[in-house]
């Protein structure tokens, strides 16, 4: 979940796209060993080539009651509630429904907070600690009432 790894993933995806575009079997060109690339949090369930097991990053604090309570406070202090209300949404989308534009795994939500998203989600990276972010993620996961299984499945569903 470190930033350089994510960048690598996109490079890999781009290279893979080139390979497919050329109607060749899905193998890398230029000698880049694709298999060595580290996967990030997927935002799509669509995978080119044979399916690979999901390797989504899980929230280390998921389900932790203390973290959830702290996350609730942080959700308010960082003004998340100003856009997502009590989870029903306002300026930003609802968090208690079953639609996850940018993925519902712990890692998805973590990176959504850190990176921001193009339709108006601000990037909080550099303004919030990793620990605070995971606590907010724990709170969001708690109000979304998703099971661990659902959290993975719903990744990428719009």
């Amino acid at each position: 979940m470190c930033l350089p790894c994510r960048r690598c993933w996109w490079i890999a995806a781009a290279l893979l796209g080139l390979a497919i575009g050329g109607c060749s079997p899905p193998q890398p060109r230029g000698g880049v060993p694709l298999g060595n690339m580290v996967e990030g949090n997927r935002q799509s369930i669509l995978q080119p080539g044979p399916p690979r097991p999901a390797r989504a990053v899980r929230n280390p604090l998921a389900g932790d009651a203390e973290a959830i309570e702290a996350g609730k406070q942080l959700f308010s202090q960082f003004n998340c509630a100003g856009c997502h209300a009590g989870g029903g949404g306002a300026i930003g989308p609802a968090l208690i429904d079953d639609q996850w534009i940018y993925g519902s795994s712990g890692g998805n939500i973590f990176w959504t907070i850190i990176e921001g998203r193009p339709q108006g989600m601000p990037s909080f990276g550099g303004r919030i600690s990793e620990d605070q972010t995971w606590r907010i993620v724990a709170y969001v996961q708690s109000i979304a009432k998703l099971t661990e299984e659902e959290k993975s499945e719903k990744a990428g569903i719009r």
């Binding site: 202090q77 003004n79 856009c83 009590g86 029903g88 306002a90 108006g120 989600m121």
Partner: protein, 606 residues
């Protein structure tokens, strides 16, 4: 043509001017449509165009066209329609200049030019491409309320707080001026007005701790001419020797600083996102100011000047001439940005130059627009937040026992945060002498919570739940007589009447509903004469124009959304009643009545 102001000229001159130029506008660059601006104080022929969102400088929205009348409107048929390709709340008014209709969509603020000689065929489109991130600082859907035409240019604001000037013939961008910063929570959603070559508009962002301002931009080159802030030191507010507020409490030095806790005026709101009117004889513009921030009143003791009020400013340089606060130290998000309808009315036997304002706090004000004196203020909706009006001091008598604050929940607050009436503009008919007002019937519970200012994020500090007022209808469309100071008739609506109103010389009044009906009613009785079922709910501004074929047309855009329709436009979850600043609580059933949409409909008699 540099002098676009013929208000004081004789009607015969107007007719000549209109006849010589009107219908040739978009055809040749050298010929421009005659611009006949007027307040209602001066009768004038209607040239059949619609050159600014509110039709005229007096914010009357009255069409002088009379082919469509109370006797034949039942035959009204769809002439053509046009999909804007955008699915957010369509609050905008189309413009009609010569043979062309112009329409600005919600974000991404596409400007379309449609050919009225060819069933609305697309002539061109202009895409300003504001950054998507701007959507994240728009409090109440990503709306745009319209454009203005001036001297061959279409001028409007984009959500990312820029103003653009576009060649009305070619669709080429002529200039683009950054006026605000989305990273400070600033957006722009209002329709500008153009006075003597300067386009005037202000910022939105009262829920983001912005510092409210109004600015004038030279339409010829996009350069900033002046900017006036609505909070802070007099020098910034453009308060100088000419400033003569009517009430003593508004006199003094730097009240925009001293009526706040230390430094709070810098993030105190007072934005300008509603309507501006202009009196050419007094050379004054009138604009409201939005709510103070945050909503939680405990966090900002003082009168919070000059929020939730109104300014009269010199149209040439922005200098303040008078100011008045509808709601000093606002408690309930009663923004003061509604339309200022300029009329000359007989008051106590004298004709007075007045400004009529159906205000968010539930009172319909009549002000002397030369001095800012309140001549009358009457309840036009159900009110529990105040007990009456003190005319001597020009003050609402607030019920102080209903003050929400940190940890204090107040219930049954009426009107609710969007007020007796929000942005949705009313229309005046000089024939019936009635003001037609689309409005709300909503109450709320409100609790103050702590608010943490982080630039570019919401700064509200309140938890709100809204619900229907007495009677259960959440909206109403009323005809109001400002001289007799009473309602002439009214129509109850299921949902808030969130569209604009249009009165016509055919004594027909048009408005739309959030549950998809575009209605024509009798201007004198309110009797329903005709309705048309649209694809999505209506929150737009109806207009009327004369087509190239000489026929009268009526136009309206559908596309539900705005604050009231955020549950549909934003796909919000009805299980959280505090969603959309509490509006979702009152609108849980809206998704059962309408989907998103975005279509312009144009109607005519067969």
């Amino acid at each position: 043509m540099t002098g676009h102001r013929f208000v004081a000229l004789a009607p015969v001159v107007l007719a000549l001017l209109a006849g010589s130029c009107t219908r040739s506008g978009a055809e040749a660059k050298s010929e421009k449509p005659a611009v006949v601006y007027a307040t209602s104080a001066v009768s004038h022929p209607d040239d059949g165009q619609w050159l600014m969102a509110s039709k005229d400088y007096g914010n009357n929205r009255f069409s002088g066209l009379e082919q469509i009348n109370a006797g034949n409107v039942r035959n009204l048929k769809l002439a053509w329609s046009f999909s804007t390709g955008v699915l957010r709340g369509h609050e905008g008014a189309p413009l009609v200049v010569g043979d062309t209709m112009y329409y600005v969509t919600p974000f991404p603020n596409i400007l379309y030019a449609l050919d009225l000689k060819n069933g609305g065929a697309k002539k061109w489109e202009y895409k300003p491409k504001p950054p998507s991130a701007a959507q994240g600082v728009a409090c109440c859907d990503v709306v745009n309320r319209g454009a203005a035409y001036w001297d061959g240019k279409i001028v409007y604001n984009t959500l990312d707080a820029h103003m653009v000037g576009v060649d009305a013939v070619t669709g080429m961008e002529l200039w683009r001026t950054k006026l605000g910063d989305i990273n400070q929570g600033e957006t722009m959603t209002m329709a500008p007005i153009v006075v003597k070559g300067k386009a005037i508009a202000g910022n939105s962002g009262g829920e983001f701790g912005v510092r409210g301002w109004i600015a004038a931009v030279d339409v010829s080159n996009g350069k900033l001419a002046w900017r006036a802030y609505n909070t802070g030191p007099d020098a910034d507010v453009l308060i100088g020797p000419r400033f003569k507020p009517f009430y003593a409490r508004d006199r003094g030095k730097d009240l925009g600083v001293t009526s706040w806790p230390a430094e709070h005026w810098k993030i105190g709101g007072g934005s300008v996102w509603g309507w501006i009117s202009y009196d050419p004889e007094l050379n004054l513009i009138y604009h409201g100011t939005g709510n103070p921030g945050p909503w939680n009143p405990d966090l900002r003791p003082g009168d919070n000047k000059w929020t939730a009020g109104i300014f009269a400013r010199d149209a040439d340089n922005g200098e303040a001439v008078w100011a008045y606060q509808w709601s000093p130290h606002d408690l309930y998000d009663y923004d003061g940005i509604n339309e200022n309808v300029l009329l000359d009315l007989p008051i106590n036997g004298q004709t007075r130059k007045v400004l009529v304002r159906p205000e968010r706090n539930g009172y319909l004000y009549v002000l002397d627009r030369q001095t800012g004196e309140v001549l009358s203020a009457d309840k036009y909706v159900h009110i529990t937040t105040s007990t009456g009006f003190d005319l001597k001091n020009g003050l609402v008598l607030e019920d102080k026992s209903k003050t929400p604050g940190t940890g204090r929940t107040m219930r049954n607050l009426c009107p609710s945060a969007p007020g007796g009436k929000d942005w949705q503009p009313s229309s005046w008919s000089p024939r019936t002498r009635l003001l037609y007002i689309p409005h709300n019937n909503l109450c709320m519970d409100m609790e103050g919570v702590e608010a943490n200012y982080i630039a570019g994020t919401p700064y509200v500090g309140a938890s709100v739940k809204m619900y229907a007022g007495p009677g259960g209808n959440r909206g109403e469309f009323s005809a109001w007589d400002p001289v007799r100071r009473q309602k002439a008739w009214s129509i109850k609506e299921k949902f808030p009447a969130w569209s604009g109103a249009l009165a016509t010389a055919g004594d027909v009044v048009f408005y739309g509903t959030m549950d998809r009906d575009f209605k024509a009613v009798d201007a004198r009785s309110g009797e329903l004469l005709w309705q048309f079922r649209t694809g999505s709910g209506i929150i737009g501004q109806p207009i009327s124009f004369k087509g190239p074929d000489g026929k009268q047309y009526i136009a309206i855009a559908d596309g539900v959304g705005g604050w009231a329709g955020a549950i549909v436009a934003g796909g919000l979850d009805p299980r959280d009643e505090t969603s959309a600043l509490g509006f979702v609580g009152a609108m849980k059933d809206l998704p059962a009545h309408t989907n998103q949409g975005g279509t312009i409909y144009v109607f005519a008699l067969p």
